[in-house]
């Protein structure tokens, strides 16, 4: 039997919210390390994956690796029935994962809800993501990242992100005009999360779709900070670490091809 118990359902709710705009259904691969999901969006432009580490569960039991075919929207509906501070337990039969049992318990232990969710057989291709060394990274407040993406989409459809010695700049161009937001390295003593950390081995510049970046930015609910990692002509990686080493949600977005800027 596979069993995993989380102290608060809120984390799982936020994870679902961060993937549901991109993915309708996906396999949740459960093994000794924890639960991992990886999926491309239907247009194959972006890829999202999350991991919740085994250590972050109150109870985690996985005798055999199992893939749970989850319809994201359905699971989100079930989770709506839980209060944010309810604990949540996921259970499934490792040999025949046809359904998933979802159990909510209130803090006072005076309410127990039990749902069964039908699982699906999903024929899904897994991609190998190289643990590549990115040439430049920016770590910044996730709220600030969300704001920049929102602000730039009032002007254009895509954003050019450039990291160089001067800092990190985000610029866009649209029918009504253009805009540029530039961030410089800064350390905020009182609130470390508000600082901007930039590491740069080589300057890098790529253009990405704002439509996707705005979807990703919603994951700011999961984490105070976000790390953007870039290399030339390579997908950008946008990582939101979930608090207290629980795990992460990572997005990868393929760049736009240079030249035919319309």
């Amino acid at each position: 039997m596979f069993e995993a118990r989380l102290e608060e359902s809120a984390v799982l709710k936020k994870i679902l919210d961060s993937v549901r705009d991109l993915v309708q259904e996906a396999n949740w691969d459960c093994n000794d390390d924890g639960i991992v999901m990886q999926s491309m969006d239907s247009s194959h432009i972006s890829l999202v994956c999350f991991m919740v580490r085994a250590s972050s569960f109150e109870v985690y039991q996985c005798e055999r690796n199992v893939s749970l075919g989850v319809k994201i929207d359905s699971l989100a509906k079930v989770l709506k029935c839980a209060a944010s501070d309810d604990s949540v337990t996921l259970k499934a039969d490792e040999n025949e994962p046809n359904t998933m049992d979802i159990l909510f318990e209130s803090k006072k232990n005076d309410r127990i809800s039990d749902f069964q969710l039908k699982l699906m057989v999903i024929d899904q291709e897994m991609l190998g993501i190289p643990e590549s060394d990115y040439t430049s990274t920016v770590e910044m407040s996730s709220a600030e990242f969300r704001r920049i993406m929102g602000d730039l989409s009032t002007m254009g459809d895509s954003v050019t992100i450039e990291i160089n010695k001067g800092g990190a700049s985000f610029s866009t161009k649209g029918d009504i005009g253009s805009g540029n937001i530039c961030l410089q390295k800064s350390a905020s003593v009182d609130k470390p999360k508000d600082g901007v950390k930039i590491t740069m081995v080589e300057p890098v510049k790529s253009t990405f779709s704002l439509k996707f970046l705005n979807i990703f930015a919603k994951a700011a609910a999961l984490s105070d900070t976000v790390v953007l990692s870039m290399s030339e002509e390579y997908p950008i990686r946008i990582e939101f670490a979930i608090d207290k080493d629980v795990g992460y949600v990572r997005y990868y977005l393929a760049p736009k091809i240079e030249g035919q800027e319309s």
């Binding site: 247009s43 291709e125 897994m126 190998g128 393929a254 760049p255 736009k256």
Partner: protein, 298 residues
């Protein structure tokens, strides 16, 4: 293709200008008249004509019957045109603006309206005449829009021409403009009457009427030609309200054009990350039984 004695036709920046009576040798200063035919109709081209005649011979034009082409019957018009050709008095430049081109100009994002098209076409003809080495003593133009403004615009464009007159009904006032109108009108009528392009169903060939919305023959042709999916053939000016209304009345299919694909130059994540192969892709049967591929098997 046009019948009669077309002296020369050539391409000027992708546009055809036909010159009638090119072989005649004009000497000395000339008068030039410009008029158009087919501004109003829903079918067929608009034709611009410019007539050139030596100053001291222009009095003879009236005797040959040059007048407002609209006031004449079709036969009379053609007779006058033939007489003009035989007389070797007039050299005529004509430019055809096809219906498709007019529709395209008027319906484009930043519309190029019919008056601007007319002004630019007239100026183009004048430039062509000057290029042929003809000395223009006086230019007479039948107006499009406000005559005073049009005249100032032309003066600015052609400071070398001594006299420019832009007037309403210039085709009946000045014989040289009348001559231009006859060349333009007869050419337009000819083109419409013998119109036959591959986009026309055989049953639709001919019987176009005059091409004006007031002509019952034209309206009945339009009603036969309209298709709920393809609209009209290229002969029809799509930008005219007559054709628009008829499309709506036919219940033509409404098309919503999707926003231009902003992801056209978007690369794919699969260009960067490869599909995993090997053990993880083995069917469930093998995984359950902990079976794996062994290349040394054979």
């Amino acid at each position: 293709m046009l019948g009669g004695s077309v002296g020369r036709s050539y391409d000027n920046d992708g546009d055809w200008i036909v010159v009638d009576g090119y072989s005649m040798a004009l000497s000395g200063p000339c008068v030039v008249g410009i008029d158009e035919a087919g501004r109003g109709p829903v079918l067929g081209p608009m034709v611009y004509g410019a007539a050139v005649c030596e100053v001291d011979k222009q009095d003879r034009l009236r005797d040959l019957g040059c007048d407002d082409s609209k006031a004449m019957s079709e036969q009379d018009r053609e007779a006058v045109r033939d007489r003009l050709r035989d007389s070797s008095l007039v050299q005529a430049y004509t430019k055809v603006l096809q219906a498709e081109e007019l529709s395209r100009c008027m319906l484009r994002k930043r519309p190029y309206n019919l008056n601007a098209i007319s002004h630019d076409t007239a100026a183009g003809l004048v430039r062509e005449i000057l290029k042929d080495g003809i000395e223009i003593e006086h230019l007479y133009v039948d107006t499009v829009g406000i005559p005073e403004r049009y005249e100032i615009w032309l003066r600015k464009a052609f400071p070398a021409i001594k006299a420019i007159t832009v007037a309403k009904k210039a085709d009946s006032t000045y014989a040289i403009v009348g001559a231009a109108s006859i060349f333009a009108k007869t050419l337009r009528d000819h083109i419409l009457r013998f119109w036959d392009t591959p986009d026309l169903h055989p049953e639709l060939r001919g019987n176009y009427g005059s091409g004006y919305p007031g002509d019952p023959a034209t309206i009945s042709w339009l009603k036969r030609a309209v298709d709920p999916h393809f609209g009209f053939p290229g002969l029809v000016r799509f930008s005219w309200s007559t054709s628009k209304n008829l499309l709506d009345a036919t219940g033509a299919v409404q098309v919503e054009f999707e926003e231009e694909d902003s992801e056209a130059n978007q690369s794919n994540i699969l260009n960067h990350f490869k599909r995993k192969t090997g053990k993880e892709q083995l069917p469930k049967y093998f995984l359950d039984r902990r079976l794996c591929e062994d290349s040394n098997f054979l």
